[in-house]
Amino acid sequence: MIPRWITVAYFLYLASPIALLFIGSFGDLWLNSLLPTGITVKWYLDVAADPNFRRAFMASLFVAVMTSVACVAIGLPLAYAVFRTQSQRVRAAARVLYQLPVAMPALVLAFGFILVFSSDTLPWLGSIWLLVAGHIVLWLPYFLQTVVADMQRLGLRVLEDAAETLGSTPLQRFFHIVLPALRLSVLSGLIIVVALSIGEFQFSNLIAGFLNRTYPVVLLQAFYGATGFACAATVILLTLALIASFTGAFVARGAARLSVAGDER
């Protein structure tokens, strides 16, 4: 019985801030009471009408999409190279790369960027492209990890060998086997990247220029104003994150269903 109570307590601990945010976002007036009074959607309309938030939302979206594009363009070939390599050195390098987000917090990366890109030779601080560049550094390892793991799980190596013995050219193998077999892996990798990118605060807060602040950065400002407004703005971010994680779970389940039982030995 005790483990169940622990589970319930932990769930409450997790869920209560989210529940409060949700309640707060629909509450009309919330002053010094446990719960707000009145029901309204005005906070959402306010957020939607706020030019700062609209701009921030677009900036976040832009950064997430550009980071995704770069992950596919750079990450997919890189993942394939890591997967196919015989060299111990490349494998070691890949392991270091995977650990990078843990070893190097966003804060450290941001300070590095500030040092380098505030110089006269590289005066790009404040540019949205610099923000994108930083996000690529931060999220590429997650993408790589997802895709390489799926390549191993699918037994891509043997699939390619099979296709080769059946008479396909390298180009045919890439378009008939590698790409289609990996489409769900790429998708789930990208969902992780988008979810992380949209929610990122530390790095973006330090690097973003005033006109391309991302959503979480602007969100912080909201808490100096009306509580309901802040709650509504946060719920929007939360909804995006939930959508991403549910889509991710769904895609992962699809990928698992595709994997052939014979590979699981």
């Binding site: 296709a163 013995t165 052939v260």
Partner: protein
């Protein structure tokens, strides 16, 4: 089919970096329609040999011919080997018929025609009506059949099967074994099957090739392999054995830990160290207490399997294993003279 063997491997060698594993100087011919089963303990180079034939690994020495053509330096895709991989390697995103039709697709056969051929081949392997399913929705045995159909549909020069039955449960394995044999005979294609299971090897093969440490120890029809193994390794790998070391004391007798064993006439010098092989099922419980090669025995271990018993006996200073259908107590055993073979000592 040409008069040449469909597959000829001549003095093929390959060593992996580090030099500890690989295959060395392997020569095997496979005739059209013949099924050769290659057997050996894990790490003996079975799969390496298969990869040398397919071209997935290059020969460092020796040559490979397929259908009379020297393919030693030919590309993998031009060799036209149909392979059933251990993990089946079905393309997970393609339906059953698309998997089977894939070799035709890359040969630019048009869609209707390749669908027709794929369906025909699926019929052959007993998978009619499964065309539209995804591989993941099939059982292990069904996936195996798809892999087989895909490997055969483009009329390859040879069929190579890498431990095709190892991922299946015991019941499916036996029925699949017969299926593979049936389809292989029907297609009349030169085939090489890799396994580490001796029942599989003996029951499937036209000839069995035994590999050890990357070298071909013996290649022979199953019965010959069992009855006249080249050495103690082959003898014990392919069946249960009594290996008895002894010293020659007469032109037809050897002194061993069990006692003096009368053997078929031999040409060994007096006093030579020899190793004798007696298969457990050739040793009979004896009702008489004396006679040629009759020894008093004490049962040490008795395993009952219904139809037969596997018994370990203490005889003289040594041990004997016997397989028998005789019930009841056993106090004496008889080794028929003809059941005794000489093996080379290493």
């Amino acid at each position: 089919m040409t008069e040449m063997p469909s597959v000829r491997v001549e003095g093929a060698s390959f060593s992996y970096p580090g030099g500890k594993a690989g295959v060395f100087d392997i020569t095997i011919d496979i005739a059209p329609g013949e099924l050769v089963v290659c057997i050996g303990p894990s790490g003996c180079g079975k799969t390496t040999l298969l990869k040398l034939i397919t071209g997935l690994l290059p020969c460092s020495a020796g040559r490979v011919w397929l259908g009379g053509e020297d393919v030693t330096t030919a590309s993998v895709r031009s060799r036209q080997c149909g392979i059933v991989f251990q993990s089946y390697a079905l393309f997970p995103h393609m339906s059953v018929w698309e998997n089977v039709a894939y070799p035709l697709r890359v040969r630019a056969v048009d869609r209707t025609e390749r669908r027709r051929q794929a369906e025909a081949m699926l019929d052959t392997v007993g998978l009619r009506g499964y065309s539209e399913r995804l591989p993941a929705a099939l059982s292990g045995g069904q996936q195996q059949r798809v892999a087989l159909a895909r490997a055969l549909v483009f009329k390859p020069r040879t069929l190579l099967l890498d431990e095709p039955l190892s991922a299946l449960d015991a019941a499916t394995r036996i029925s699949m074994r017969d299926e593979i044999r049936r389809i292989q005979k029907q297609q009349n294609i030169a085939s090489l099957l890799i396994t580490h299971d001796r029942d599989e090897a003996l029951s499937l093969a036209d000839r069995v090739a035994v590999l050890r440490d990357g070298r071909l120890v013996q290649i022979a029809p199953p019965q010959e392999l069992y009855d006249r193994p080249a050495d103690a390794f082959v003898a014990s790998f392919i069946g249960r054995t009594n290996l008895i070391d002894g010293r020659v004391v007469a032109p037809d007798a050897v002194d061993t830990a069990i006692g003096r064993i009368v053997t078929p006439a031999h040409a060994m010098p007096m006093g030579a160290a020899v190793r004798l092989l007696v298969r457990p099922e050739r040793i009979e419980p004896s009702s008489t207490e004396t006679g040629e090669n009759v020894f008093a025995a004490t049962v040490v271990h008795d395993r009952f399997f219904g139809a037969s018993r596997e018994i370990e006996l203490s005889v003289g200073q040594g041990m004997l294993k016997i397989d028998t259908t005789v019930r009841g107590t056993i106090a004496h055993v008889h080794l028929p003279r003809q059941a005794v073979q000489f093996l080379p000592t290493h």
